[in-house]
Amino acid sequence: MLTPFPVKNCFRLLCHHRVPAAGFRTPATHGLILQSISSDVYQNLAIEDWIHDHISLEGKPILFLWRNSPCVVIGRHQNPWQECNLHLMRQGGIKLARRRSGGGTVYHDMGNINLTFFTTKTKYDRMENLKIIVRALNAVQPRLDVQPTKKFDLLLDGQFKISGTASKIGRVAAYHHCTLLCSTDRTALSSLLKSPYQGIKSNATPSIPSVVKNLLDKDPALTCEVLMNAIAAEYAAHHQIDNHITLINPADETQFPGIRSKAKELQSWEWTYGWTPKFSVNTTFHVPHGQAHLPIQVSIDVKKGRIETCNIKAPDHWLPLEIGNKLNSSFIGSKFCPIEATLLTNILLRTCPDDQHLHSKWNILCEKLRGIM
Protein backbone atom coordinates (compact mmCIF):
# COMPACT_ATOMS: atom_id res chain seq x y z
CA MET A 1 0.00 0.00 0.00
CA LEU A 2 1.74 3.09 -1.30
CA THR A 3 0.78 6.63 -0.59
CA PRO A 4 2.65 9.86 -1.17
CA PHE A 5 2.21 10.83 2.41
CA PRO A 6 3.38 14.09 3.94
CA VAL A 7 6.15 12.80 6.11
CA LYS A 8 6.80 15.88 8.24
CA ASN A 9 4.64 14.56 11.04
CA CYS A 10 6.12 11.12 11.29
CA PHE A 11 9.68 12.36 11.10
CA ARG A 12 9.13 14.95 13.77
CA LEU A 13 7.90 12.23 16.07
CA LEU A 14 11.02 10.24 15.50
CA CYS A 15 13.73 12.88 15.55
CA HIS A 16 16.30 12.91 18.33
CA HIS A 17 15.50 16.29 19.76
CA ARG A 18 11.82 15.67 20.17
CA VAL A 19 10.21 13.91 23.07
CA PRO A 20 8.18 11.16 21.39
CA ALA A 21 4.58 12.35 21.27
CA ALA A 22 1.70 10.12 22.13
CA GLY A 23 1.96 7.44 19.48
CA PHE A 24 2.39 7.63 15.76
CA ARG A 25 -0.89 5.87 15.14
CA THR A 26 -2.05 3.44 17.78
CA PRO A 27 0.01 0.31 17.29
CA ALA A 28 1.75 -1.29 20.25
CA THR A 29 5.11 -0.76 18.61
CA HIS A 30 6.52 1.87 16.29
CA GLY A 31 8.48 1.77 13.09
CA LEU A 32 8.44 2.95 9.51
CA ILE A 33 8.68 1.56 6.02
CA LEU A 34 10.04 4.09 3.56
CA GLN A 35 10.54 3.95 -0.18
CA SER A 36 12.57 6.41 -2.19
CA ILE A 37 11.09 8.01 -5.29
CA SER A 38 14.59 8.80 -6.51
CA SER A 39 16.84 6.52 -8.53
CA ASP A 40 19.91 8.65 -7.93
CA VAL A 41 22.48 6.67 -5.97
CA TYR A 42 23.99 9.71 -4.27
CA GLN A 43 20.63 10.99 -3.09
CA ASN A 44 19.69 7.56 -1.81
CA LEU A 45 22.97 7.07 0.02
CA ALA A 46 22.53 10.58 1.44
CA ILE A 47 19.14 9.67 2.84
CA GLU A 48 20.70 6.70 4.59
CA ASP A 49 23.18 9.07 6.23
CA TRP A 50 20.43 11.50 7.11
CA ILE A 51 18.17 8.92 8.75
CA HIS A 52 21.15 7.47 10.61
CA ASP A 53 22.15 10.91 11.93
CA HIS A 54 18.77 12.46 12.68
CA ILE A 55 16.22 9.87 13.60
CA SER A 56 15.93 8.22 16.97
CA LEU A 57 15.60 4.51 16.38
CA GLU A 58 14.96 3.52 19.98
CA GLY A 59 11.96 1.18 19.77
CA LYS A 60 11.35 2.42 16.23
CA PRO A 61 13.15 0.46 13.54
CA ILE A 62 13.00 1.65 9.94
CA LEU A 63 13.09 -0.23 6.64
CA PHE A 64 14.16 1.79 3.60
CA LEU A 65 13.54 0.48 0.07
CA TRP A 66 15.42 1.98 -2.84
CA ARG A 67 16.57 1.32 -6.39
CA ASN A 68 19.15 3.08 -8.49
CA SER A 69 19.68 3.76 -12.16
CA PRO A 70 22.84 1.99 -13.41
CA CYS A 71 25.81 2.56 -11.15
CA VAL A 72 28.66 0.77 -9.42
CA VAL A 73 28.88 1.05 -5.65
CA ILE A 74 32.13 0.29 -3.86
CA GLY A 75 32.63 -0.32 -0.15
CA ARG A 76 34.03 2.33 2.17
CA HIS A 77 37.61 1.05 2.09
CA GLN A 78 37.86 -0.21 -1.44
CA ASN A 79 39.92 0.72 -4.49
CA PRO A 80 37.74 1.43 -7.56
CA TRP A 81 40.65 0.71 -9.92
CA GLN A 82 40.85 -2.78 -8.47
CA GLU A 83 37.14 -3.39 -8.47
CA CYS A 84 35.61 -2.19 -11.71
CA ASN A 85 36.18 -1.06 -15.28
CA LEU A 86 36.23 2.71 -14.93
CA HIS A 87 36.77 3.25 -18.66
CA LEU A 88 33.66 1.31 -19.54
CA MET A 89 31.75 3.15 -16.87
CA ARG A 90 32.84 6.54 -18.20
CA GLN A 91 31.89 5.52 -21.72
CA GLY A 92 28.47 4.32 -20.60
CA GLY A 93 27.76 7.21 -18.25
CA ILE A 94 27.61 4.79 -15.34
CA LYS A 95 28.19 6.49 -12.01
CA LEU A 96 30.64 5.39 -9.36
CA ALA A 97 29.63 5.76 -5.73
CA ARG A 98 31.45 4.90 -2.52
CA ARG A 99 29.16 3.99 0.32
CA ARG A 100 29.88 4.51 4.02
CA SER A 101 29.43 0.89 4.98
CA GLY A 102 32.09 -1.76 4.48
CA GLY A 103 31.94 -4.75 2.18
CA GLY A 104 32.45 -5.31 -1.52
CA THR A 105 31.55 -3.85 -4.89
CA VAL A 106 28.15 -4.19 -6.48
CA TYR A 107 26.38 -3.16 -9.65
CA HIS A 108 22.97 -1.54 -9.28
CA ASP A 109 20.25 -0.95 -11.80
CA MET A 110 16.47 -0.79 -11.60
CA GLY A 111 16.34 -4.59 -11.55
CA ASN A 112 18.04 -4.62 -8.14
CA ILE A 113 16.32 -3.79 -4.86
CA ASN A 114 18.29 -2.19 -2.05
CA LEU A 115 17.02 -2.70 1.48
CA THR A 116 18.31 -0.80 4.48
CA PHE A 117 17.40 -1.91 7.98
CA PHE A 118 17.92 0.87 10.53
CA THR A 119 18.09 -0.04 14.23
CA THR A 120 19.81 1.00 17.43
CA LYS A 121 23.25 -0.54 17.94
CA THR A 122 21.89 -3.03 20.43
CA LYS A 123 19.17 -4.23 18.06
CA TYR A 124 21.61 -4.67 15.17
CA ASP A 125 20.95 -8.16 13.82
CA ARG A 126 21.70 -8.98 10.20
CA MET A 127 20.43 -12.55 10.32
CA GLU A 128 17.05 -11.43 11.64
CA ASN A 129 16.77 -9.05 8.67
CA LEU A 130 17.78 -11.68 6.13
CA LYS A 131 15.23 -14.10 7.57
CA ILE A 132 12.54 -11.48 6.99
CA ILE A 133 13.56 -11.34 3.33
CA VAL A 134 13.56 -15.15 3.03
CA ARG A 135 10.11 -15.40 4.59
CA ALA A 136 8.86 -12.73 2.21
CA LEU A 137 10.28 -14.57 -0.81
CA ASN A 138 8.71 -17.82 0.34
CA ALA A 139 5.38 -16.07 0.89
CA VAL A 140 5.39 -15.23 -2.82
CA GLN A 141 6.90 -18.54 -3.94
CA PRO A 142 6.82 -21.27 -1.28
CA ARG A 143 9.00 -23.62 -3.33
CA LEU A 144 11.86 -21.12 -3.64
CA ASP A 145 15.13 -22.36 -2.13
CA VAL A 146 16.79 -19.30 -0.62
CA GLN A 147 19.13 -19.51 2.35
CA PRO A 148 21.28 -16.98 4.23
CA THR A 149 24.93 -17.89 4.58
CA LYS A 150 27.35 -17.28 7.46
CA LYS A 151 28.68 -14.32 5.52
CA PHE A 152 25.18 -12.87 5.30
CA ASP A 153 24.74 -13.51 1.58
CA LEU A 154 21.52 -14.98 0.26
CA LEU A 155 21.97 -18.03 -1.94
CA LEU A 156 19.44 -19.34 -4.43
CA ASP A 157 19.40 -23.11 -4.93
CA GLY A 158 22.45 -23.38 -2.76
CA GLN A 159 24.74 -21.84 -5.35
CA PHE A 160 23.67 -18.49 -6.80
CA LYS A 161 24.19 -15.30 -4.90
CA ILE A 162 21.12 -13.10 -5.06
CA SER A 163 22.00 -10.77 -2.21
CA GLY A 164 25.09 -9.27 -0.55
CA THR A 165 25.27 -7.41 2.73
CA ALA A 166 27.15 -4.47 4.19
CA SER A 167 26.75 -2.44 7.36
CA LYS A 168 27.69 0.63 9.26
CA ILE A 169 27.74 1.11 13.01
CA GLY A 170 27.72 4.65 14.37
CA ARG A 171 27.38 6.39 17.71
CA VAL A 172 24.02 5.03 18.81
CA ALA A 173 22.57 3.57 15.66
CA ALA A 174 23.44 1.09 12.98
CA TYR A 175 22.27 0.13 9.55
CA HIS A 176 22.43 -3.09 7.64
CA HIS A 177 21.81 -2.83 3.91
CA CYS A 178 21.67 -5.48 1.27
CA THR A 179 20.92 -5.94 -2.40
CA LEU A 180 18.41 -8.26 -4.01
CA LEU A 181 18.81 -9.29 -7.64
CA CYS A 182 15.46 -9.49 -9.40
CA SER A 183 16.07 -8.56 -13.01
CA THR A 184 19.47 -6.91 -13.18
CA ASP A 185 21.38 -6.68 -16.46
CA ARG A 186 23.85 -9.49 -15.84
CA THR A 187 25.92 -8.75 -18.91
CA ALA A 188 26.50 -5.22 -17.68
CA LEU A 189 27.18 -6.53 -14.19
CA SER A 190 29.94 -8.91 -15.24
CA SER A 191 31.63 -6.54 -17.68
CA LEU A 192 31.58 -3.55 -15.33
CA LEU A 193 32.77 -5.44 -12.26
CA LYS A 194 35.80 -6.75 -14.07
CA SER A 195 38.85 -4.57 -13.55
CA PRO A 196 41.22 -4.25 -16.53
CA TYR A 197 43.91 -2.57 -14.41
CA GLN A 198 47.14 -4.46 -13.92
CA GLY A 199 49.88 -4.28 -11.36
CA ILE A 200 47.96 -2.69 -8.48
CA LYS A 201 49.26 -3.30 -4.98
CA SER A 202 46.95 -2.13 -2.24
CA ASN A 203 45.68 -2.74 1.28
CA ALA A 204 42.14 -1.91 0.26
CA THR A 205 39.46 -4.44 1.14
CA PRO A 206 38.92 -6.76 -1.83
CA SER A 207 35.60 -8.03 -3.19
CA ILE A 208 34.82 -11.70 -3.39
CA PRO A 209 33.42 -12.46 -6.86
CA SER A 210 30.37 -14.70 -6.92
CA VAL A 211 28.15 -16.37 -9.44
CA VAL A 212 24.86 -14.50 -9.42
CA LYS A 213 21.38 -15.08 -10.70
CA ASN A 214 18.22 -13.03 -11.07
CA LEU A 215 15.13 -14.12 -9.16
CA LEU A 216 13.00 -13.30 -12.19
CA ASP A 217 14.88 -15.96 -14.16
CA LYS A 218 13.79 -18.49 -11.56
CA ASP A 219 10.18 -17.41 -11.40
CA PRO A 220 8.41 -14.70 -13.45
CA ALA A 221 6.28 -13.77 -10.44
CA LEU A 222 9.31 -12.38 -8.62
CA THR A 223 9.36 -8.83 -9.95
CA CYS A 224 10.82 -5.88 -8.04
CA GLU A 225 7.39 -4.46 -7.26
CA VAL A 226 6.02 -7.76 -5.96
CA LEU A 227 9.09 -8.37 -3.83
CA MET A 228 9.24 -4.89 -2.33
CA ASN A 229 5.63 -5.21 -1.25
CA ALA A 230 6.17 -8.72 0.11
CA ILE A 231 9.24 -7.69 2.10
CA ALA A 232 7.44 -4.63 3.47
CA ALA A 233 4.53 -6.83 4.57
CA GLU A 234 6.81 -9.33 6.27
CA TYR A 235 8.80 -6.54 7.97
CA ALA A 236 5.56 -4.99 9.24
CA ALA A 237 4.35 -8.35 10.56
CA HIS A 238 7.66 -9.06 12.28
CA HIS A 239 7.88 -5.67 13.97
CA GLN A 240 4.13 -5.43 14.54
CA ILE A 241 3.73 -2.16 12.74
CA ASP A 242 1.37 -0.94 10.05
CA ASN A 243 2.05 -2.39 6.62
CA HIS A 244 2.26 1.02 5.08
CA ILE A 245 4.96 2.20 2.68
CA THR A 246 5.68 5.90 2.86
CA LEU A 247 7.21 7.45 -0.26
CA ILE A 248 10.01 9.89 0.36
CA ASN A 249 11.86 12.31 -1.87
CA PRO A 250 15.56 12.43 -0.95
CA ALA A 251 15.97 15.67 -2.89
CA ASP A 252 13.60 17.51 -0.55
CA GLU A 253 15.71 19.87 1.53
CA THR A 254 12.66 21.01 3.53
CA GLN A 255 11.82 17.51 4.69
CA PHE A 256 15.46 16.57 5.16
CA PRO A 257 17.48 19.67 6.05
CA GLY A 258 21.09 19.23 5.10
CA ILE A 259 20.45 16.41 2.64
CA ARG A 260 21.77 18.35 -0.33
CA SER A 261 25.19 18.81 1.19
CA LYS A 262 25.30 15.13 2.14
CA ALA A 263 24.56 14.14 -1.44
CA LYS A 264 27.16 16.61 -2.67
CA GLU A 265 29.79 15.11 -0.41
CA LEU A 266 28.98 11.60 -1.58
CA GLN A 267 29.32 12.73 -5.18
CA SER A 268 32.61 14.52 -4.62
CA TRP A 269 35.84 13.33 -6.18
CA GLU A 270 37.50 13.58 -2.73
CA TRP A 271 35.16 10.95 -1.30
CA THR A 272 34.66 8.71 -4.34
CA TYR A 273 38.24 8.51 -5.57
CA GLY A 274 40.25 10.45 -2.98
CA TRP A 275 39.24 8.17 -0.12
CA THR A 276 40.97 5.21 -1.81
CA PRO A 277 43.60 3.68 0.50
CA LYS A 278 47.16 4.32 -0.63
CA PHE A 279 48.18 2.07 -3.52
CA SER A 280 50.91 1.56 -6.07
CA VAL A 281 50.76 0.71 -9.75
CA ASN A 282 53.62 -1.26 -11.29
CA THR A 283 53.00 -2.21 -14.85
CA THR A 284 54.53 -2.31 -18.30
CA PHE A 285 52.96 -1.24 -21.55
CA HIS A 286 54.32 -1.43 -25.06
CA VAL A 287 54.77 1.28 -27.67
CA PRO A 288 55.53 0.72 -31.37
CA HIS A 289 59.19 1.14 -32.23
CA GLY A 290 60.14 0.45 -35.79
CA GLN A 291 59.08 -3.08 -36.57
CA ALA A 292 58.97 -4.05 -32.93
CA HIS A 293 57.54 -2.94 -29.63
CA LEU A 294 59.29 -1.21 -26.81
CA PRO A 295 58.37 -1.95 -23.21
CA ILE A 296 57.83 1.07 -20.99
CA GLN A 297 57.78 0.43 -17.27
CA VAL A 298 55.53 2.53 -15.11
CA SER A 299 55.75 2.85 -11.37
CA ILE A 300 53.25 5.17 -9.69
CA ASP A 301 52.26 5.63 -6.04
CA VAL A 302 48.80 7.04 -5.44
CA LYS A 303 47.78 8.58 -2.13
CA LYS A 304 44.34 10.10 -1.55
CA GLY A 305 43.69 9.62 -5.27
CA ARG A 306 46.66 11.78 -6.26
CA ILE A 307 50.01 10.79 -7.72
CA GLU A 308 52.65 10.88 -5.00
CA THR A 309 55.55 9.42 -6.94
CA CYS A 310 55.82 8.83 -10.65
CA ASN A 311 58.42 6.92 -12.59
CA ILE A 312 57.68 6.37 -16.25
CA LYS A 313 60.75 4.71 -17.69
CA ALA A 314 60.78 5.66 -21.34
CA PRO A 315 64.18 4.81 -22.88
CA ASP A 316 66.25 7.80 -23.97
CA HIS A 317 66.44 6.67 -27.59
CA TRP A 318 62.66 6.71 -27.82
CA LEU A 319 61.84 9.79 -25.78
CA PRO A 320 64.49 12.38 -24.78
CA LEU A 321 65.35 11.94 -21.13
CA GLU A 322 64.64 15.54 -20.20
CA ILE A 323 61.12 15.27 -21.61
CA GLY A 324 60.60 12.01 -19.74
CA ASN A 325 61.77 13.66 -16.53
CA LYS A 326 59.49 16.62 -17.10
CA LEU A 327 56.57 14.25 -17.53
CA ASN A 328 57.35 12.41 -14.30
CA SER A 329 57.74 15.52 -12.21
CA SER A 330 54.66 17.24 -13.61
CA PHE A 331 52.41 14.34 -12.66
CA ILE A 332 53.28 14.65 -8.99
CA GLY A 333 50.31 15.96 -7.07
CA SER A 334 47.84 15.56 -9.90
CA LYS A 335 44.78 13.34 -9.70
CA PHE A 336 45.18 9.77 -10.88
CA CYS A 337 42.57 10.47 -13.50
CA PRO A 338 42.63 10.29 -17.31
CA ILE A 339 40.93 13.66 -17.75
CA GLU A 340 43.44 15.45 -15.59
CA ALA A 341 46.30 13.50 -17.20
CA THR A 342 45.14 14.62 -20.64
CA LEU A 343 45.02 18.27 -19.56
CA LEU A 344 48.46 18.04 -18.05
CA THR A 345 50.10 16.28 -20.98
CA ASN A 346 48.51 18.69 -23.49
CA ILE A 347 49.98 21.62 -21.61
CA LEU A 348 53.36 19.91 -21.44
CA LEU A 349 53.32 19.10 -25.14
CA ARG A 350 53.30 22.80 -25.96
CA THR A 351 56.65 23.14 -24.20
CA CYS A 352 58.20 20.36 -26.31
CA PRO A 353 60.05 20.90 -29.58
CA ASP A 354 57.72 21.14 -32.55
CA ASP A 355 58.65 17.79 -33.99
CA GLN A 356 55.89 15.68 -35.54
CA HIS A 357 57.69 12.44 -34.82
CA LEU A 358 58.07 13.37 -31.17
CA HIS A 359 54.48 14.54 -30.91
CA SER A 360 53.17 11.27 -32.25
CA LYS A 361 55.24 9.28 -29.72
CA TRP A 362 54.01 11.60 -26.99
CA ASN A 363 50.39 10.99 -27.95
CA ILE A 364 50.89 7.23 -27.93
CA LEU A 365 52.52 7.41 -24.52
CA CYS A 366 49.76 9.58 -23.11
CA GLU A 367 47.07 7.31 -24.48
CA LYS A 368 48.73 4.36 -22.75
CA LEU A 369 48.99 6.32 -19.51
CA ARG A 370 45.32 7.26 -19.65
CA GLY A 371 44.63 3.58 -20.14
CA ILE A 372 46.01 2.71 -16.71
CA MET A 373 43.89 5.33 -14.97
Partner: protein, 141 residues
Protein backbone atom coordinates in the same frame (compact mmCIF):
# COMPACT_ATOMS: atom_id res chain seq x y z
CA UNK B 1 41.18 -10.29 29.27
CA UNK B 2 44.91 -9.63 29.49
CA UNK B 3 45.93 -7.38 32.34
CA UNK B 4 48.56 -4.76 31.70
CA UNK B 5 50.28 -2.53 34.23
CA UNK B 6 48.67 0.86 33.98
CA UNK B 7 51.26 2.92 35.78
CA UNK B 8 54.73 3.14 34.32
CA UNK B 9 57.38 5.16 36.13
CA UNK B 10 60.21 6.26 33.93
CA UNK B 11 63.39 8.13 34.91
CA UNK B 12 62.75 11.85 34.73
CA UNK B 13 59.35 11.45 36.37
CA UNK B 14 57.28 11.11 33.15
CA UNK B 15 54.26 9.24 34.39
CA UNK B 16 51.80 7.48 32.14
CA UNK B 17 48.33 8.03 33.47
CA UNK B 18 45.88 5.30 34.29
CA UNK B 19 43.82 4.08 31.37
CA UNK B 20 40.45 5.74 31.04
CA UNK B 21 37.47 4.57 29.03
CA UNK B 22 34.53 6.01 27.13
CA UNK B 23 31.06 4.52 26.86
CA UNK B 24 31.94 3.71 23.26
CA UNK B 25 34.67 1.35 24.51
CA UNK B 26 37.59 3.48 23.47
CA UNK B 27 40.47 3.92 25.91
CA UNK B 28 43.04 6.64 26.38
CA UNK B 29 46.24 6.92 28.37
CA UNK B 30 48.16 10.17 28.64
CA UNK B 31 51.79 11.09 29.09
CA UNK B 32 53.13 14.61 29.05
CA UNK B 33 49.99 15.94 27.46
CA UNK B 34 49.97 13.33 24.68
CA UNK B 35 47.05 10.90 24.69
CA UNK B 36 47.24 7.42 23.17
CA UNK B 37 43.88 6.09 21.94
CA UNK B 38 42.73 2.57 21.26
CA UNK B 39 39.69 0.32 21.58
CA UNK B 40 38.93 -1.96 24.49
CA UNK B 41 39.00 -5.73 24.58
CA UNK B 42 35.20 -5.74 24.75
CA UNK B 43 35.13 -3.68 21.53
CA UNK B 44 37.65 -5.78 19.62
CA UNK B 45 35.85 -8.98 20.57
CA UNK B 46 32.51 -7.52 19.50
CA UNK B 47 33.99 -6.37 16.20
CA UNK B 48 35.57 -9.63 15.21
CA UNK B 49 38.55 -9.74 12.86
CA UNK B 50 39.48 -6.24 11.78
CA UNK B 51 40.25 -6.15 8.06
CA UNK B 52 40.83 -2.44 7.62
CA UNK B 53 41.75 0.55 9.82
CA UNK B 54 40.80 3.95 8.49
CA UNK B 55 42.69 6.53 10.51
CA UNK B 56 43.08 10.31 10.25
CA UNK B 57 46.02 12.33 8.96
CA UNK B 58 48.59 13.69 11.40
CA UNK B 59 47.58 17.25 12.18
CA UNK B 60 43.84 16.57 12.14
CA UNK B 61 42.06 18.63 14.78
CA UNK B 62 39.55 16.63 16.78
CA UNK B 63 36.90 17.72 19.24
CA UNK B 64 35.70 15.29 21.88
CA UNK B 65 33.30 12.78 20.28
CA UNK B 66 34.26 13.71 16.71
CA UNK B 67 34.35 10.80 14.34
CA UNK B 68 38.02 10.22 13.49
CA UNK B 69 37.99 7.02 11.48
CA UNK B 70 36.53 3.57 11.21
CA UNK B 71 37.41 -0.05 11.72
CA UNK B 72 36.06 -2.47 9.17
CA UNK B 73 35.48 -6.01 10.32
CA UNK B 74 33.24 -8.86 9.32
CA UNK B 75 30.65 -7.26 11.55
CA UNK B 76 30.46 -3.82 9.93
CA UNK B 77 32.33 -0.60 9.29
CA UNK B 78 32.32 0.77 12.85
CA UNK B 79 33.06 4.42 13.30
CA UNK B 80 35.58 5.62 15.86
CA UNK B 81 34.93 8.61 18.10
CA UNK B 82 37.58 10.73 19.75
CA UNK B 83 37.51 10.43 23.56
CA UNK B 84 39.05 13.88 23.99
CA UNK B 85 39.83 17.09 22.09
CA UNK B 86 43.22 17.63 20.51
CA UNK B 87 45.47 17.37 17.45
CA UNK B 88 46.55 14.07 15.99
CA UNK B 89 50.33 13.74 16.39
CA UNK B 90 50.85 10.13 15.37
CA UNK B 91 48.98 7.34 13.66
CA UNK B 92 49.78 3.64 14.05
CA UNK B 93 51.16 3.02 10.55
CA UNK B 94 51.60 -0.72 11.02
CA UNK B 95 47.82 -1.14 11.05
CA UNK B 96 47.67 -0.38 7.33
CA UNK B 97 49.33 -3.70 6.51
CA UNK B 98 48.29 -5.54 9.66
CA UNK B 99 44.88 -4.44 10.85
CA UNK B 100 44.64 -7.63 12.93
CA UNK B 101 47.02 -6.13 15.50
CA UNK B 102 43.97 -4.37 16.93
CA UNK B 103 42.48 -7.75 17.80
CA UNK B 104 45.71 -9.31 19.02
CA UNK B 105 46.94 -6.44 21.18
CA UNK B 106 44.28 -3.82 21.68
CA UNK B 107 45.98 -2.23 24.71
CA UNK B 108 49.58 -2.31 23.53
CA UNK B 109 50.63 -2.55 19.87
CA UNK B 110 47.09 -2.03 18.64
CA UNK B 111 46.86 1.65 19.62
CA UNK B 112 45.26 3.73 16.88
CA UNK B 113 46.29 7.38 17.25
CA UNK B 114 48.19 9.69 19.51
CA UNK B 115 46.99 13.21 20.12
CA UNK B 116 48.16 16.40 21.79
CA UNK B 117 45.37 17.18 24.23
CA UNK B 118 43.88 20.64 24.09
CA UNK B 119 41.78 20.23 27.25
CA UNK B 120 43.15 17.60 29.67
CA UNK B 121 40.29 18.31 32.11
CA UNK B 122 38.05 16.33 29.75
CA UNK B 123 39.74 13.24 31.18
CA UNK B 124 37.68 13.70 34.34
CA UNK B 125 34.51 12.85 32.39
CA UNK B 126 35.82 9.45 31.36
CA UNK B 127 35.44 6.18 33.27
CA UNK B 128 38.15 4.40 35.18
CA UNK B 129 39.02 0.84 34.19
CA UNK B 130 36.97 -0.47 37.08
CA UNK B 131 33.94 1.66 36.25
CA UNK B 132 34.25 0.61 32.62
CA UNK B 133 34.22 -3.08 33.56
CA UNK B 134 31.06 -2.53 35.62
CA UNK B 135 29.50 -0.63 32.74
CA UNK B 136 30.29 -3.39 30.25
CA UNK B 137 28.75 -5.99 32.58
CA UNK B 138 25.59 -3.92 32.92
CA UNK B 139 25.05 -3.57 29.19
CA UNK B 140 25.80 -7.19 28.52
CA UNK B 141 22.73 -8.19 30.49
Amino acid sequence: MARHPVRVLRPGSAVQSARKFTEKHEWITTENGIGTVGISNFAQEALGDVVYCSLPEVGTKLKKQDEFGALESVKAASELYSPLSGDVTQVKEALAENPGIVNKSCYEDGWLIKMALSDPSELDDLMSEEASEKYVKSIEE
